[in-house]
């Protein structure tokens, strides 16, 4: 088994593939070196002067280890895993630590198995974590529940990489038995536990870490970074579509930089296509003044070390031949991408096909809801003053503002005001639950809009100023098996299907992106303020772990009090 590598390393036989005349990064010394990189099978066998059966001239390019995205939810791209790969592999990403939290909240383990199998056909290593928080809170109806017992069963599977971000940190810190069972199962299986602990510090952080959590991607300040690193966490610098903390790179020092990684967490197809993936994070970090070599090391060696992927993250003998040749380490334009020894992308274009997508029935047709009627959206409140949700443009933290409402015929009349009705329609188990509330300042007028992506349980979330349009929007979502919709009061309906779990489209990225842009534009044309991401800002209004006021299918939720609240003030 080893002979073929040894013989090629010694140049007694030609390598399978040689990247000739490369300048390449030695991540261990932080030095750029010159030489050929010889590959046999999926492994690098040596650097020096080599001949290969296939040779690629890399003169003028800088070869880096393939990038590793340390934490990502593929579902947030709204694309299938195959198509997601077709966007990120040509950008130089060759491995991701993925958490299928969204699809598992809809489809249960079938969602997890779908991602595993769908990823197999593309040249991208998808290390799939088992989501730790399904559902995210006990206050909402999700499509599935993963108990401690389920976790014990599934975490042992070879194809499960680790335990996904443990967002329910209060449960761990509070010694909730179900939560501890999950952590204990991961520890017993020898698997990594990803963290998610915004602003958790001091003794609470100590307690959280005692549960074996090893990473965090939510750091917000130098003090938070300093404490979390000192306590042994690896920190992801995040470059998502709606959340970023690239500025955290400023806190890297010679002594601590090995503890930093890069992740995208949630990144939409449009951003992936237009700006890129980890390459874009590197480009921006360097532009902001970060050391380019240390930044690359974050996305390669450090990620490999954090996740115990000892076979990759460096250009050295015996490492996986996952390589990206960029024009330079300022612009990071990927010219050549090699995955496991095979040329898989050139000049930003994938050289692999993604047509025959794996689409099992159990991730399709996931919108289980009766036909909705206009009356379902009547908001019958008992006071002239009510709580309305507000959300800052570009943010996901919501506020609560007490507003005066116009009541009419047992309903609230919002037309012509700055208020909109907000509704979350349960869509997994036909419970009939509809949570209702008010949203202020979003800007939309003349109908309803909504989608089946709504964190984290992904029920139908709708807003509108017209009960009939809200019903029409929900019914269209049911018809198309989930997606995004705008129903005008005049009866016109625009929609874009997300057939996979109501979260992702099986279409190709280009076509999907165009239609996606069109429906988003339509929403803005109907008044959604440009500062919002028309649909995605809406999708976070149900995320009951982010302050302050949120709406779930069971009602209005005060996150600070971690309890339901009445709309009436």
């Amino acid at each position: 088994m080893l002979e073929k590598y040894i013989l090629a390393a010694k140049r007694e036989t030609p390598a399978d593939l040689v990247l000739k005349n490369a300048t390449y990064l030695d991540v261990f010394s932080g030095k750029l070196r010159k030489g050929d990189i010889a590959v046999v099978g999926d492994k690098i066998v040596g650097t020096g002067e080599y001949s290969g059966v296939e040779e690629i001239d890399c003169a003028g390019l800088t070869v880096l280890p393939g990038f590793i995205d340390g934490h990502v939810h593929i579902e947030s791209s709204q694309l299938s895993p195959e198509e997601f790969a077709s966007l990120i592999v040509p950008r130089g990403t060759t491995a991701i630590i993925a958490d299928p939290h969204e699809i598992v909240n809809v489809c249960g383990m079938a969602g997890c198995d779908y991602i595993i199998k769908a990823s197999k056909s593309v040249p991208l290593d998808v290390m799939l974590n088992l989501p730790s928080c399904v559902p995210a809170t006990p206050f909402e109806t999700s499509g599935a529940t993963l108990t401690g017992k389920d976790t014990e069963k599934h975490i042992k599977r070879d194809e499960i990489f680790g335990l996904g971000e443990f967002m329910n940190y209060p449960a761990l810190i509070g010694c909730d038995r179900e939560a501890l069972t999950k952590a204990e199962a991961a520890i017993a299986a020898g698997k990594v536990i990803d963290g998610h602990a915004p602003s958790v510090s001091g003794y609470d952080l100590n307690a959280y870490l005692c549960c074996g959590v090893s990473t965090d991607h939510e750091c917000d300040s130098g003090a938070e970074i300093d404490e979390k690193i000192s306590k042994g966490m690896y920190l992801h610098i995040r470059h998502g579509s709606s959340t970023h903390n690239l500025g955290n790179a400023a806190f890297m020092t010679a002594e601590n930089f090995r503890r930093f990684l890069i992740c995208t967490d949630d990144r939409h197809a449009a951003d992936l296509k237009e700006y890129g993936h980890i390459d874009d994070a590197l480009r921006r970090m360097v532009k902001n003044g970060a050391d380019p070599i240390r930044s690359i090391i974050c996305a390669t060696l450090n990620a490999a070390e954090c996740y115990n992927l000892r076979d990759r993250g460096a250009i050295a003998p015996n490492r996986l031949a996952d390589l990206v040749a960029v024009d330079n380490i300022k612009d990071f334009n990927a010219k050549i991408v090699v995955k496991s020894g095979k040329l898989v992308a050139r000049d930003g274009q994938a050289l692999f096909d993604t047509p025959a997508r794996y689409l099992p029935a159990n991730v399709l047709n996931t919108v289980h809801v009766r036909t909705l009627r206009p009356d379902d959206f009547i908001l019958n409140i008992k006071s002239d003053r009510a709580k309305a949700m507000t959300v800052a443009e570009g943010g996901i933290v919501t506020g609560c503002e007490v507003v005066s409402v116009t009541r009419e015929g047992g309903d609230v009349y919002v037309k012509g005001s700055d208020l909109l009705k907000l509704a979350v329609v349960e869509r997994h188990k036909m419970t009939g639950n509809i949570g209702k509330g008010l949203l202020k300042g979003y800007g939309f007028k003349g109908g309803a809009m909504g989608l089946t992506v709504s964190h984290d349980s992904h029920n139908i979330i709708l807003l509108g100023d017209d009960n009939a349009a809200m019903a029409a929007a929900a019914n269209r979502l049911r018809e198309i098996g989930g997606g995004m919709v705008i129903a005008q009061s005049d009866g016109t309906i625009h929609s874009l299907a997300l057939e996979i779990a109501g979260l992702m489209s099986p279409r190709d990225a280009d076509g999907f992106r165009k239609d996606c842009r069109a429906i988003i534009e339509k929403a803005h044309a109907m008044g959604v303020k440009r500062g919002y991401s028309a649909f995605m800002s809406l999708a976070f209004l149900s995320l009951a772990v982010i302050p302050k006021l949120k709406l779930v299918d069971k009602g209005l939720f005060d996150v600070d009090k971690f309890a339901f609240t009445n709309i009436e003030e």
Copy 2:
């Protein structure tokens, strides 16, 4: 299971042990921080302000993670594992990566199992590698052979940590099937393979690394360090009794220092007692100008990372409570040592007992040789000119000098000259093999001296100017079950037993060291030049993997040609 840690971390219950008022090293940021360190069971649960059932005031001290010796042969201390622990634990070492290469060459797997079991009673984590090169070469008779098949069987065992230093790099690079089988077995078992590759570079190094080897402790120059680090090796800075490369610390940079470790490799009881262990390496490195914090990180976090010991190497929640409080990070005098949460040493004194040593029969009485006669040491050569071995004082590389010899009665007469007879008497399998040669310039006169430690097969090695004394020396070694011996021509015999495999004494360190010093002094009194380590320099004259001329039981060996050679010139 996790509750007790969480509750103590949150200060809802007292910790079991608290190191109060500590200044402690945060290895992740390279910063000294202040606070209490709280321990529950064997784990650190937090830093901050804590109360404990037991509290130790560490005001004025600096608390560091317990030191890890990245590569050591316990046998070289000449003490039992228990007694070895009693010397190094009070110095702050809490874990070692040990390679029982010496005892396995004598006793086979019984030697390995002995070290495993003997180590269990002491507060030191002994990660035991399976030796990869037993015997070291096919040109000598060892007590055991570990084949590829044996390696496949044993490497899987839970108590086997990895595959020991692969000294036979020519075999791997040369695609020797047995050697490859061993490496492949370790890879298949997911275990680390330690390296040993002096001056191996370029394409040969690439080939060696393709076999999964990950470390080296033999670097001799900046260029060698630079290349080996760039190719992904972890490098041990070595502080043994006869071999040192502490100067390699000068090549640490901000970018590469995470790839450096510290090891002692071979360190004798006398040095351990007098100067210390990893603490002494740190002391000297810092004295030579190395950054103290980076040096400590080499012996803690880096070693943990290299060997995938994710549970230790740092003072942080969820890490093993292996701690050493030193006076300062210049002198490194260990004042308090905590192993797995228990106080185990104070002011350099072990607080644990090592009396009831585990001494299985299969590591005792290992000198299997018939009664030797003076005639056995006749050196009947057919020329007046012969090859004599030379060895530089303080070194282990030998030279070959052609000398004139005085022949008399079918023997060589060395008395009164600068020559000595050298003999290696096979002692494992009663083969009757006696390799014979000449040694020039050692200085000994008036009898014979020898020992059962002779690398790597540990046959009896003897030198002398008197056949009768050589026979008497060998016979005494047989009587005492191995050890060190001096036989004067007047019939007086001095000896020190090494009952365990002929390599180690079961005695306590203090008594053993005193007697050891006495016999060494006796050797010098009989003429051995002070520049030599009287017995240990002799023990390396049979090491047929180190140039240039060596003597094994099967004859005189030319290491450069890797073949036997005639003594006659």
